[in-house]
Symmetry: C2
Subunit: 272 residues, 2 copies
Amino acid sequence: MIITLNLQKNYGMRIVLVGTGNLATRLGMALHAGNIEIAQVFGRSAAAASQLADLLSCPFTSHLEELLPDADLYLMAVSESALPLLLKNERFHHQFLVHTSGSIPMELLSHTTENFGVFYPLQTLSKQKEVNFRNVPICIEANNKVNLETLQELASLISDKVIQIDSNNRKYLHLSAVFVCNFVNHLYAIGGKLLEEKGLDFQLLRPLIAETAEKAALFLPEEVQTGPAVRNNQPIMDLHLQMLEQHPEWQKIYEVISNDIKRFHPPIHTNS
Amino acid sequence: MIITLNLQKNYGMRIVLVGTGNLATRLGMALHAGNIEIAQVFGRSAAAASQLADLLSCPFTSHLEELLPDADLYLMAVSESALPLLLKNERFHHQFLVHTSGSIPMELLSHTTENFGVFYPLQTLSKQKEVNFRNVPICIEANNKVNLETLQELASLISDKVIQIDSNNRKYLHLSAVFVCNFVNHLYAIGGKLLEEKGLDFQLLRPLIAETAEKAALFLPEEVQTGPAVRNNQPIMDLHLQMLEQHPEWQKIYEVISNDIKRFHPPIHTNS
């Protein structure tokens, strides 16, 4: 019964989606799939806005002066660098504005409007890959109780993991996400390049990548650390550094991470 | 029919498992589950050897002089640092010796015996977590065709991904594995510690960790890189470095990986 009520309430809510990137696309699609109406898509590129509007069965514009003046919520799903400039446009003044960034404090929006909040999905989103939004933690924050409730209801329609979190903690959540997602993905890329140079296929690493992530779903990572650094096996580490001689950047990465693993795990005997 | 023949052949093979660590345990259990007889477990610690022998329903010893003298294969599943010392013991001379290390050249065994090889499972193995060995790539190498065939048959009994790979390429495979597994796991640990300091739960990061790994199963990692560095968003990176001021080691890790992401992805416009 509650779900029905929420659906009805939010179904009547008219949302303008600002942005056409990975986050705007995936978030727009999740809202659309949750029967929440997107009233308009705005994007600087008419082609990108048109493409996303197609997916969301809604109108689009690439001109700020054509922005709907009376939507209930303006979802600013744009990059951290684009946001401040957009906020200067008077079309956004005195609207209910919500940004989607992990690192930008909510208060930035207070210079533009009296009703504002944050709607930050803690997930890596790509146009190429679908994601089950019900599993995506959505971190919300708002300038007052009424707006917070609105965001809570909206978020609950697409995710089972809605958490209220302030700007300061959200900033740390984002920083952690950079380590466990963005940096991790780059280590995958380095692993792939090392194999490529030897004519070996990235495919070989995929079971290892999957298992490493599965372990993190069951244990705390420091409890299941394996490898030469946690065993303090200096000859192997020296060999690896020597093998990386043609890649000084990767040698540096190898060194700083290995040293930090050793710092986390003071030497004890293990033959893992 | 071929499977039956292989089973019979290997069932008759008597294997001594040397080692009681994570790899010895998981490999021993996979062999045992594949109906391959472990004739004896050797471990320096009688307690550890006894525990593993229990799991494998076989005898054990912690004394090298009690090692079975006539097994068909001695599987040296010990750490890279323990192996050279063990090989000096005359019990191993002129036996069929196989080591399980990614980084140790096969030729190391040639000083001890005339029949030797490598049996390297490319996976992170812990006593705490079961793993489906059929998905684990097993990299094999041997000093001659007959021994290679024996290892091929043995590996095929427990895994669907048996690959022949020489010592030099295996060394690079291991190095790649350190990046995509050991280093990745440490980045998970750092992410968790950053949250812990703010009273936030590691659990929040798990959907992100899983999705990042799932993406790597479908795409090449460099094609789906996200985050501040690939967007070349210097203000966010500066903020993150400032937030890490109390953790100079993590600041360094943040810097070297971000710089390498920027090097991989020369700046183009994206609002992902």
